[in-house]
Amino acid sequence: MDDLKSISNEERISVMMDGELSQEECGRVLGDIVADRRAIETWHVYQVVGDVMRSPELAPARDELKFLERLEKRLAQEPKLPQSVPTADLNAGVSDSAWAATVGSAKQSANAPVFRWKMLVGVACSAVVAVVGGGLWNQSEGARGDEFSKTKQIQTQAPLVVAAETPVGPMLRDPRLDELMAAHRQLGGHSALQVPAGFLRNATYEGAGR
């Protein structure tokens, strides 16, 4: 917001509630709100209005500020929170070494991104890729070699012959393939997925006299 300085505190609260401020401006306005009880009250009323607009069921039935006072008494007895969320503006006055000590003393969560784990995962992934990739390469090499040798064999043993001249060019036929297809005629015309069952379904007899 360019002209934030020219607007009232209440309007700033309204804009901040809507998440329309930059981080710096937001931090400044929040700093003003928490220091001013009247501003906190405004924040509360705006929140109530928004909630009730969205759902009438959210209208407060009891004194919510009393709830907060009660909570604040409990929180006052709580130990200081460990700082794990560094913010530039909030810690502007803290020296780098002090900040490092604070962050270093904070307990690290189990899923925190630690470099040694990242390195371990990286090495493991590389090993898996190398093994799987190598295996696939060897397989494909072998397969290619086999196919090549077979093709060569066929080429040497059974040269193609021109069976017929067609308008689109000569039709090449392989005599060995023709032989093979003749011997396995029952497969012709069937789907590659459905091989015919090897049993006699029915039979007819055609007599000579008919």
């Binding site: 209005v49 607009m53 407060p60 039935a61 004194d63 919510e64 709830f67 700082q83 969320v85």
Partner: protein, 207 residues
């Protein structure tokens, strides 16, 4: 020429969390004032006793406070708080397993949340005065909304109910962003003016 780079907007929840973790408990108070109604309604779906609802809500906010440094902002703050509230309520209910004030609905449906429709039976023992006060606030807000000039009402509805950004509202209403900001603020102020006395009545006096 250098094109103007839009400044990234800051979610106020994130800022409030950061402030709290940095040691400012008053910032946490603002989060409480923002979310306590939703949290209490959520717990109210599970528990009959209104005093117990408040106790569980208190415990929820204390637990959330203790764990606040672990909140990384991956999810919305309310989503995170919601899980804490549900777990806290479950723990309370386990301890009070044979207590007749426990709502049966809670055991029947774990996925129940504060947005789900109320079951046939009311789930709280709220006193008639409190219920009346809440209803009055709802009526006043609606009446104040209706009394707003059309452009203010439209702006605040698009923001609060539709959740649109200022830029989106500016496009929808064919006006500058500054006008949108001003309209939303004026609408809020006009409604707040009617609501404040009712909130004051609940306290007797406010601070």
């Amino acid at each position: 020429m250098n094109p103007a780079v839009p400044t990234p907007k800051q979610d106020s929840d994130t800022e409030l969390v950061q402030r709290t973790v940095a040691g400012d408990q008053r910032a946490y108070g603002l989060l409480v004032l923002k979310y306590q109604r939703r949290i209490q309604r959520l717990i109210g779906r599970m528990v009959r006793d209104v005093d117990l609802v408040e106790d569980i809500a208190q415990e929820t906010f204390v637990r959330a406070y203790r764990a606040l440094h672990q909140f990384r902002g991956d999810a919305q703050f309310y989503t995170w708080l919601y899980r804490i509230a549900v777990n806290t309520a479950k723990k309370f209910l386990l301890e009070l397993k044979h207590d007749p004030t426990v709502s049966e609905n809670f055991h029947a449906n774990d996925d129940d949340d504060e947005t789900s429709w109320k079951k046939a039976e009311p789930t709280t023992d709220e006193g008639p005065e409190s219920i009346l006060a809440a209803k009055e606030i709802a009526v006043v807000v609606n009446a104040a909304m209706d009394a707003l000039p059309a452009e203010l009402r439209q702006a605040v509805v698009l923001r609060e109910i539709e959740g649109m950004s200022y830029e989106e509202i500016a496009i929808a209403m064919a006006c500058p962003v500054g006008t949108v900001r001003s309209r939303i603020f004026r609408a809020r102020e006009a409604i707040s003016l009617q609501v404040r006395p009712l909130l004051d009545q609940q306290t007797g006096k406010r601070w």
